[in-house]
Amino acid sequence: MPDILTAPATKSSAPTGNIVEMSWDPITRIVGSLGIYTKIDFDSKKVIECYSTSSIFRGYSIFMQNKDPRDAHFITSRICGICGDNHATCSTYAQNMAYGVKPPPLAEWIVNLGEAAEYMFDHNIFQDNLVGVDFCEMMVKETNPSVWEKAQRTPAPHAADHGYRTIGDIMKALNPFSGEFYRETLHVSRYTREMFCLMEGRHVHPSTLYPGGVGTVPSIQLFTDYTVRLMRYIEFMKRCLPLHDDLFDFFYEALPGYEEVGRRRVLLACWGSFQDPDVCDYDYRTMEKWGNAMFVTPGIVIDGQLVTTNLVDINLGIRILLGSSYYDDWGDNGEVFVKNDPLGNPVDRRHPWNQTTIPKPQKRNFADKYTWVMSPRWLDKRTGDHLAMDTGGGPIARLWATALAKLVNIGYVESTGHSVKIRLPKTALKGEVEFEWKIPKWSNAIERDRARTYFQAYSAACALHFLDKALKEVYAGRTATFTPFKVPDEAIGCGFHEAVRGVLSHHMVIRKGKIANYHPYPPTPWNANPRDVYGTPGPYEDAVQNTPIFEENGPDKFKGIDIMRAVRSFDPCLPCGVHMYLGNGKVLQQKHTPTAFAGLAH
């Protein structure tokens, strides 16, 4: 056995069985650079092992040290090219806490409107221009000719709502560029970004966000321009949502057992989104209260149970583990910046406030270190487990936590304790509609994708509420959008938000008026991370392992479509990439005994 394992491999040498090493690097139609390396058993039609790797390191937490804390949101926006504004927003939340400043309510409504537009745009382009291609005619014909055959004969149950007669017609409409729905969603992705630019200046790195508020001018025109686009989008959602329900339901029907694709234990995390300025004062000591007032409820959902909605508990449970990533451990040598939080609770050495990043570039070795992504975990105090929580690409976790918590009821959206109701008003061609997202039976690829469409509608419905609130301020003459502040010499702050694809936190420590430590944790480190120091695989790895293979192609023409659907359902965004690479299929020499590879994890 070579010292360096360049791909997940086994030690055995007898050519038996049908286990094939397959890798996809880069995985395209995501943001960033990701590689997925697997072993697939073509006899039992199952993925038996998976490794996730990312090939880019940039070093934000290093070069942000000693910079002016007010630069943080401008810099951290550049972490991500599709949801940079989520970073900028989260950073202003952390700064607001550190500076002790509360923006005027109108500023919060403007930020909420901007972030709602971001969800509407980003989920839309990802779902139908990137993920959608995995479900389009071209792809399904190539991977599952019998499914394509059936799709053409299957009437779409909601044809009257969306206008496509059969499932086959929907798949055709999703073909890249030539497909009608593909082109329409590209267009939708543009006017939703215009809505975003109205509120935050530019997409994707906003120009008008500041700690203390926004620079956006709250004119009547601003809200008119937003409203007409929003109503166009709401009309679009009345077609888009039933279309996706038809498509996804069809897969369960056409391929019995498809619920196992990308399925993993329900370990969902949501850090909450959309502040309510009537409650939120950015004081850490009241964080539980204002966290629970958010219009998307923060929460940890384990095996279907809502464990907490308290942002303080969520915060204190975060642990950054290493194990298989290219870093030296800061262990006991790193500086402890924050011993206790402002409530007096002890803060762990492996918490982001106390993290020290020591990059160590080295050869890729799947038996040891194989990625630039660290392994964030959430410590469940009840069991002592470091849980590999995932975000499910964002929407499934947001809707799940919000549904169970039963805290949101603004008319346009209502949490019932077991579902979320979304009410969209009459538009030009369609009447009022109520959609209901119900907690699904599984956390799997199809349900992650389905939740994405529902959350697009949820965001649009929330935006209606934010518009009402914002205009109330404007009509009352309360048009201030900024509160002045001073940067303290010593302070700490944390921000919690939902990036489009899931949980986002920023932790900052200020000393002598400069940044002493800054650690952003976006969703993809939670989802795309490698085996941690305890050998626990990251969520992609976990979800792909044991995914059954439904593709009709054998190893020679294998496209890995079921694996692609599993990985893309998490909405990978590694502006540090995921590379999916399909090898030619080296046949390995081992028979189906997954335990034989267990040693690789250490």
Binding site: S23, W24, D25, P26, I27, T28, R29, S33, S55, I56, F57, R58, G59, F63, N66, D68, D71, F74, I75, R78, I79, G81, I82, G84, A107, N129, L130, P176, L186, R190, R193, C197, L198, G201, R202, H203, V204, H205, S207, T208, G212, V214, G215, T216, V217, D225, P359, P361, K363, R364, A480, T481, F482, G560, P575, H579, M580, Y581, L582, G583
Partner: protein, 354 residues
């Protein structure tokens, strides 16, 4: 009767097909690729689907939108390096790390070397592809000049493409690197530059005009301030004291007067959005000196103290004089009235009352 399979409305490009090989694996955020999906002038569909006459057929190979995955996708890279994908334009996104400063491993990579099983570094790809490319476009401030990831204190030694290949680099067709900065790149700026290069390839446009920082002159020849609709406030010495004001932002961090960028003219999308024109200070994100020379972003640029003082004196007088004139022109002329008399100055001949 319509003639088929015959082109008679425009001349054909001498180059029938062209590939765009788009590397996103510099140190970046893919924000420039996302940006081009926002462009409408022209849109990505306009180019890929042949909506603009006289141009070669365009094949775009960009990981963010590609149909292909893994090896099937990487084939274009290997083919291009082997001279089998010809002609192609290389687009570089993200800054170029310095791979020489460490013992082993990689900062940025794409695909796997079939011989070693190790990732192929982005720099290796540039070395392989640059000699074969018809031209290279550096897209976004990271690729053009280094940008955020090349900030002081960075661990990767990041730089811009021209720093890596040399500022005097020329393609096999004699073209210098074309730099389209912006963080991210303004959507239409990038797509319009690609369009220009396609016109050039088709023999319909002369050599692309570039300035000494290799930027297209028609996009970066003016400053943010020259296009800003808040410049009128500056002229009158009327400056915002805090964010959220509709006035000139130069005293609270805006670098617009000295930054080459057209965002205030073009807006961000469809004329909507931008920077100082909509309340966001200009942080100089298109500039070679970005970000370090503009930080801390929220402090007034050092040079603005003097200039705003000078402008402030004269501008204050100007503003007061204009206020007087403004009051005057806000009143209608006195001859517009319902009284039974004509006071406009016209001498009535036929209908005058006695």
């Amino acid at each position: 009767m319509v003639a088929e399979n015959k082109t008679f409305t425009h001349r054909q490009s001498p180059v029938k097909e062209i590939h765009v090989v788009w590397m996103t694996t510099g140190l970046g955020c893919d924000g420039d690729s996302v940006s081009i999906t926002a462009a409408t002038q022209p849109s990505i569909e306009d180019l890929v689907m042949g909506n603009i006459p006289g141009l070669p057929k365009v094949h775009v190979h960009n990981p963010v939108i590609a149909y292909e995955v893994g090896d099937e996708f990487m084939k274009y890279w290997f083919d291009a390096a082997a001279g089998k994908l010809d002609p192609f334009v290389l687009v570089m996104e993200g800054s170029i790390p310095n791979e020489k400063i460490k013992k082993e491993g990689y900062w940025a990579a794409l695909g796997t070397d079939p011989d070693t099983g190790q990732p192929i570094t982005t720099n290796e790809w540039i070395d392989r592809l640059a000699p074969k490319a018809l031209g290279i476009v550096a897209c976004g401030t990271c690729a053009t000049y280094g940008g955020i990831h090349a900030m002081q204190g960075n661990p990767t030694g990041a730089m811009g493409l021209a720093d890596y290949l040399g500022w005097g680099w020329r393609s096999k067709a004699g073209l210098p690197i074309v730099n389209v900065p912006g963080c991210p790149v303004q959507p239409d700026n990038m797509m319009e530059t690609l369009l220009y290069l396609l016109y050039q390839v088709a023999g319909l446009a002369p050599l692309i005009p570039l300035d000494d920082q290799l930027r297209p002159t028609w996009l970066f020849g003016k400053t943010v301030h020259e296009g800003c609709d808040r410049a009128g406030y500056y002229e009158q010495g009327d400056f915002a004291r805090e964010y959220g004001s509709p006035k000139c932002l130069v005293k609270i961090g805006c670098w617009g007067p000295v930054v080459n960028c057209n965002v205030t003219k073009r807006g961000w999308m469809a004329g909507i959005g931008g920077c100082p024109n909509v309340g966001g200070i200009c942080i100089g994100c298109t500039m070679p000196g970005f970000p370090d020379k503009f930080m801390p972003f929220m402090d007034a640029p050092p040079g603005s103290a003097l200039s705003t003082k000078v402008v402030g004196l004269w501008g204050g007088v100007l503003r007061r004089l204009r206020a007087i004139t403004n009051t005057t022109v806000n009143k209608e002329p006195k001859w517009r009235h319902p009284r039974a008399e004509l006071t406009t100055g016209y001498e009535p001949i036929n209908y005058a009352r006695n």
